[in-house]
Symmetry: C2
Subunit: 331 residues, 2 copies
């Protein structure tokens, strides 16, 4: 295993510590237990947004803590859910008196641990709502999930719900818009290589030199099928078609097209995928009104990409365009 | 070779095309010959900034075209200098009547081809100045260079000179500040893995599973020495010490610390490197006043990182903090 790490057991804590030092103007990193909050005082009267999940998907979630997006993020160990005793202080810290929305990717461990933390927070008189992200069209149930998995579409939920909270929407309104994003966002990914969890020390799965895995999960869990390595335009079609079909994309739709890197793929390749995905959407009569290309929901050093499509309306477009100031997303 | 590409010969053009579609609000992509300019009309009376070099280092340079940074970028084929007939139209397009500064990384091919293009532009009555970036302390001469190579410090030159041009400094003043950055910025990198040039199809060099290359060039050209794979804190020291020694960093210095990913390394590892590099600088009595962590000057999918230190003064800090709006750098 070749990584720029010290003791693999310390990887998440040391990385968080560096992240906190580099972005001290934006975030405060807590290490015992580990969670990340916005720097400074909580905003009174604003709905708080909390997300979290296993580490290894950076910049998700800590990279999205800041004005216009999350109030707190809770990283577990690599590819492992954070515990309720990590999530609880994050919820309490994010509460400015207007309640908290937790945004949870649909993995059984995350769902259970967030539920427990929410119960504990409610026992402390914090009002909490939750939204479950399940945008991955690749498989219905998986190794770690009942129902569809939550993947890169989570970025869209966090950005848009974050903008709604920032402008002063109440908990019911922020929850409604988060659920609207979930209802209109779909994703699918491909792996060219496996990744190696630091404390495991060997690749999570074997992928022959001439095969790729279509519909891969962000923890390297199996997708739909393995196919021979193909041209980028063909691979892009294998991802985009199921996404657009599931969303029912048709003539006149405005969409956000998000091409996400899995961590080890150069951005030059992501733009090749973007080019073809855009063409395929336009061939369906859709208009790509907003775009995002880069490494936002990764799987350590995995080579590969995912395609996310969000069907836009005026409300979602307006909220997407609102200012955001986080370590990983800023405009 | 596992990449998300179509015909490797089309990789640069297709990627540029996708880049132009995704960022049409910021840039205009020209494909014959390939160069990238800011979207819209040139700013009359502003010094134009042009940079370029081989592709494969994205987001360098096209990702830095926009307000507060470059006016045009010229990508050659992967790891190959752009030709004078690409550089010339970029210079002409960037000229708003106040002259053009070209920012060239010190590689023999880039230097020669930019020189030729500058002569051709001057023949068309454009006033051109040039600055050479040579921040890599690893080796004095290399496979492609007489003198030190230009690497990630280029981002600092482009950002700070870009801010000076944007506020209306004249060509002599912008050139002076660019040279001041060059005089105060140093870098050194490490490779954990090799990378594969698309049209070559096999890794540029062999690196055993238990070795890393200290002082690697951004084209995979040899560095100072190979050493056994070591802990991140030790590797960081091997990079930071030569950089800080060469700069003569000492008690009371304010610095910008820039940890750059080579393309295939997850950001979580870059923050582990950042943490230790910052400690080492602070142990020398320096204060890390500004930070940048991420993939900005890459070598395709290479795993590895580089450390860049820029000694700051009030002028450089002020210009660094000025707004920038490009695809890859924005605040």
């Amino acid at each position: 295993m070749k990584k720029l790490l010290n003791d693999p057991q310390d990887a998440v804590a040391e990385s968080l510590e560096g992240f906190g030092l580099a972005h001290a103007d934006l975030v405060e990193v807590h290490l015992d237990p580990p969670y990340v909050t916005r720097a400074g005082e909580v905003t009174r009267g604003k709905v708080g947004l909390v997300s979290g999940g296993g580490a290894g998907h950076e910049p998700l979630h800590a990279g999205f803590v800041g004005t216009g997006m999350l109030d707190a993020a809770v990283p577990g160990p690599v590819f492992t859910s954070p515990t309720p005793d990590q999530v609880l202080p994050a919820i309490l810290a994010a509460d400015g008196g207007a309640g908290v929305l937790t945004i949870v990717k649909n993995y059984t461990g995350d769902v259970l641990n967030f539920e427990t933390a929410v119960e504990l927070a409610e026992a402390e008189d914090v009002q909490v709502a939750s939204v479950l992200v399940n945008d991955d069209v690749a498989v219905e149930d998986s190794l770690y999930t009942a129902g569809r998995r939550g993947v890169a579409g989570t970025v869209c939920v966090e950005k848009i719900a974050g903008a709604a909270a920032e402008r002063g929407d109440d908990l019911a309104a922020v929850t409604r818009v988060a659920e609207k994003v979930v209802a209109n966002v779909r994703s699918m990914g491909v792996a060219l290589t496996a990744c190696t969890v630091p404390h495991v020390g060997k690749p999570s799965f074997d992928l022959p030199d001439d095969e790729i895995e279509i519909g891969i999960g962000i923890h390297g869990e199996p997708g739909r099928h393995r196919v021979p390595l193909a041209a980028a335009d063909d691979v892009t079609r294998m991802l985009l078609d199921p996404v657009a079909d599931d969303l029912g994309i048709s003539d006149g739709d405005d969409v956000l097209l998000f091409v996400n890197g899995m961590g080890g793929t150069p951005s030059s390749e992501l733009y090749v995928v973007y080019r073809q995905a855009r063409r395929l959407l336009e061939a369906r009569g859709a208009s790509v009104a907003r775009s995002l290309v880069g490494n936002y929901v990764t799987s350590l050093e995995m080579q590969g990409a995912s395609i996310t499509v969000l069907r836009l309306d005026d409300e979602l477009t307006t909220l997407w365009d609102e200012p955001v100031h986080t370590a990983a997303l800023r405009w």
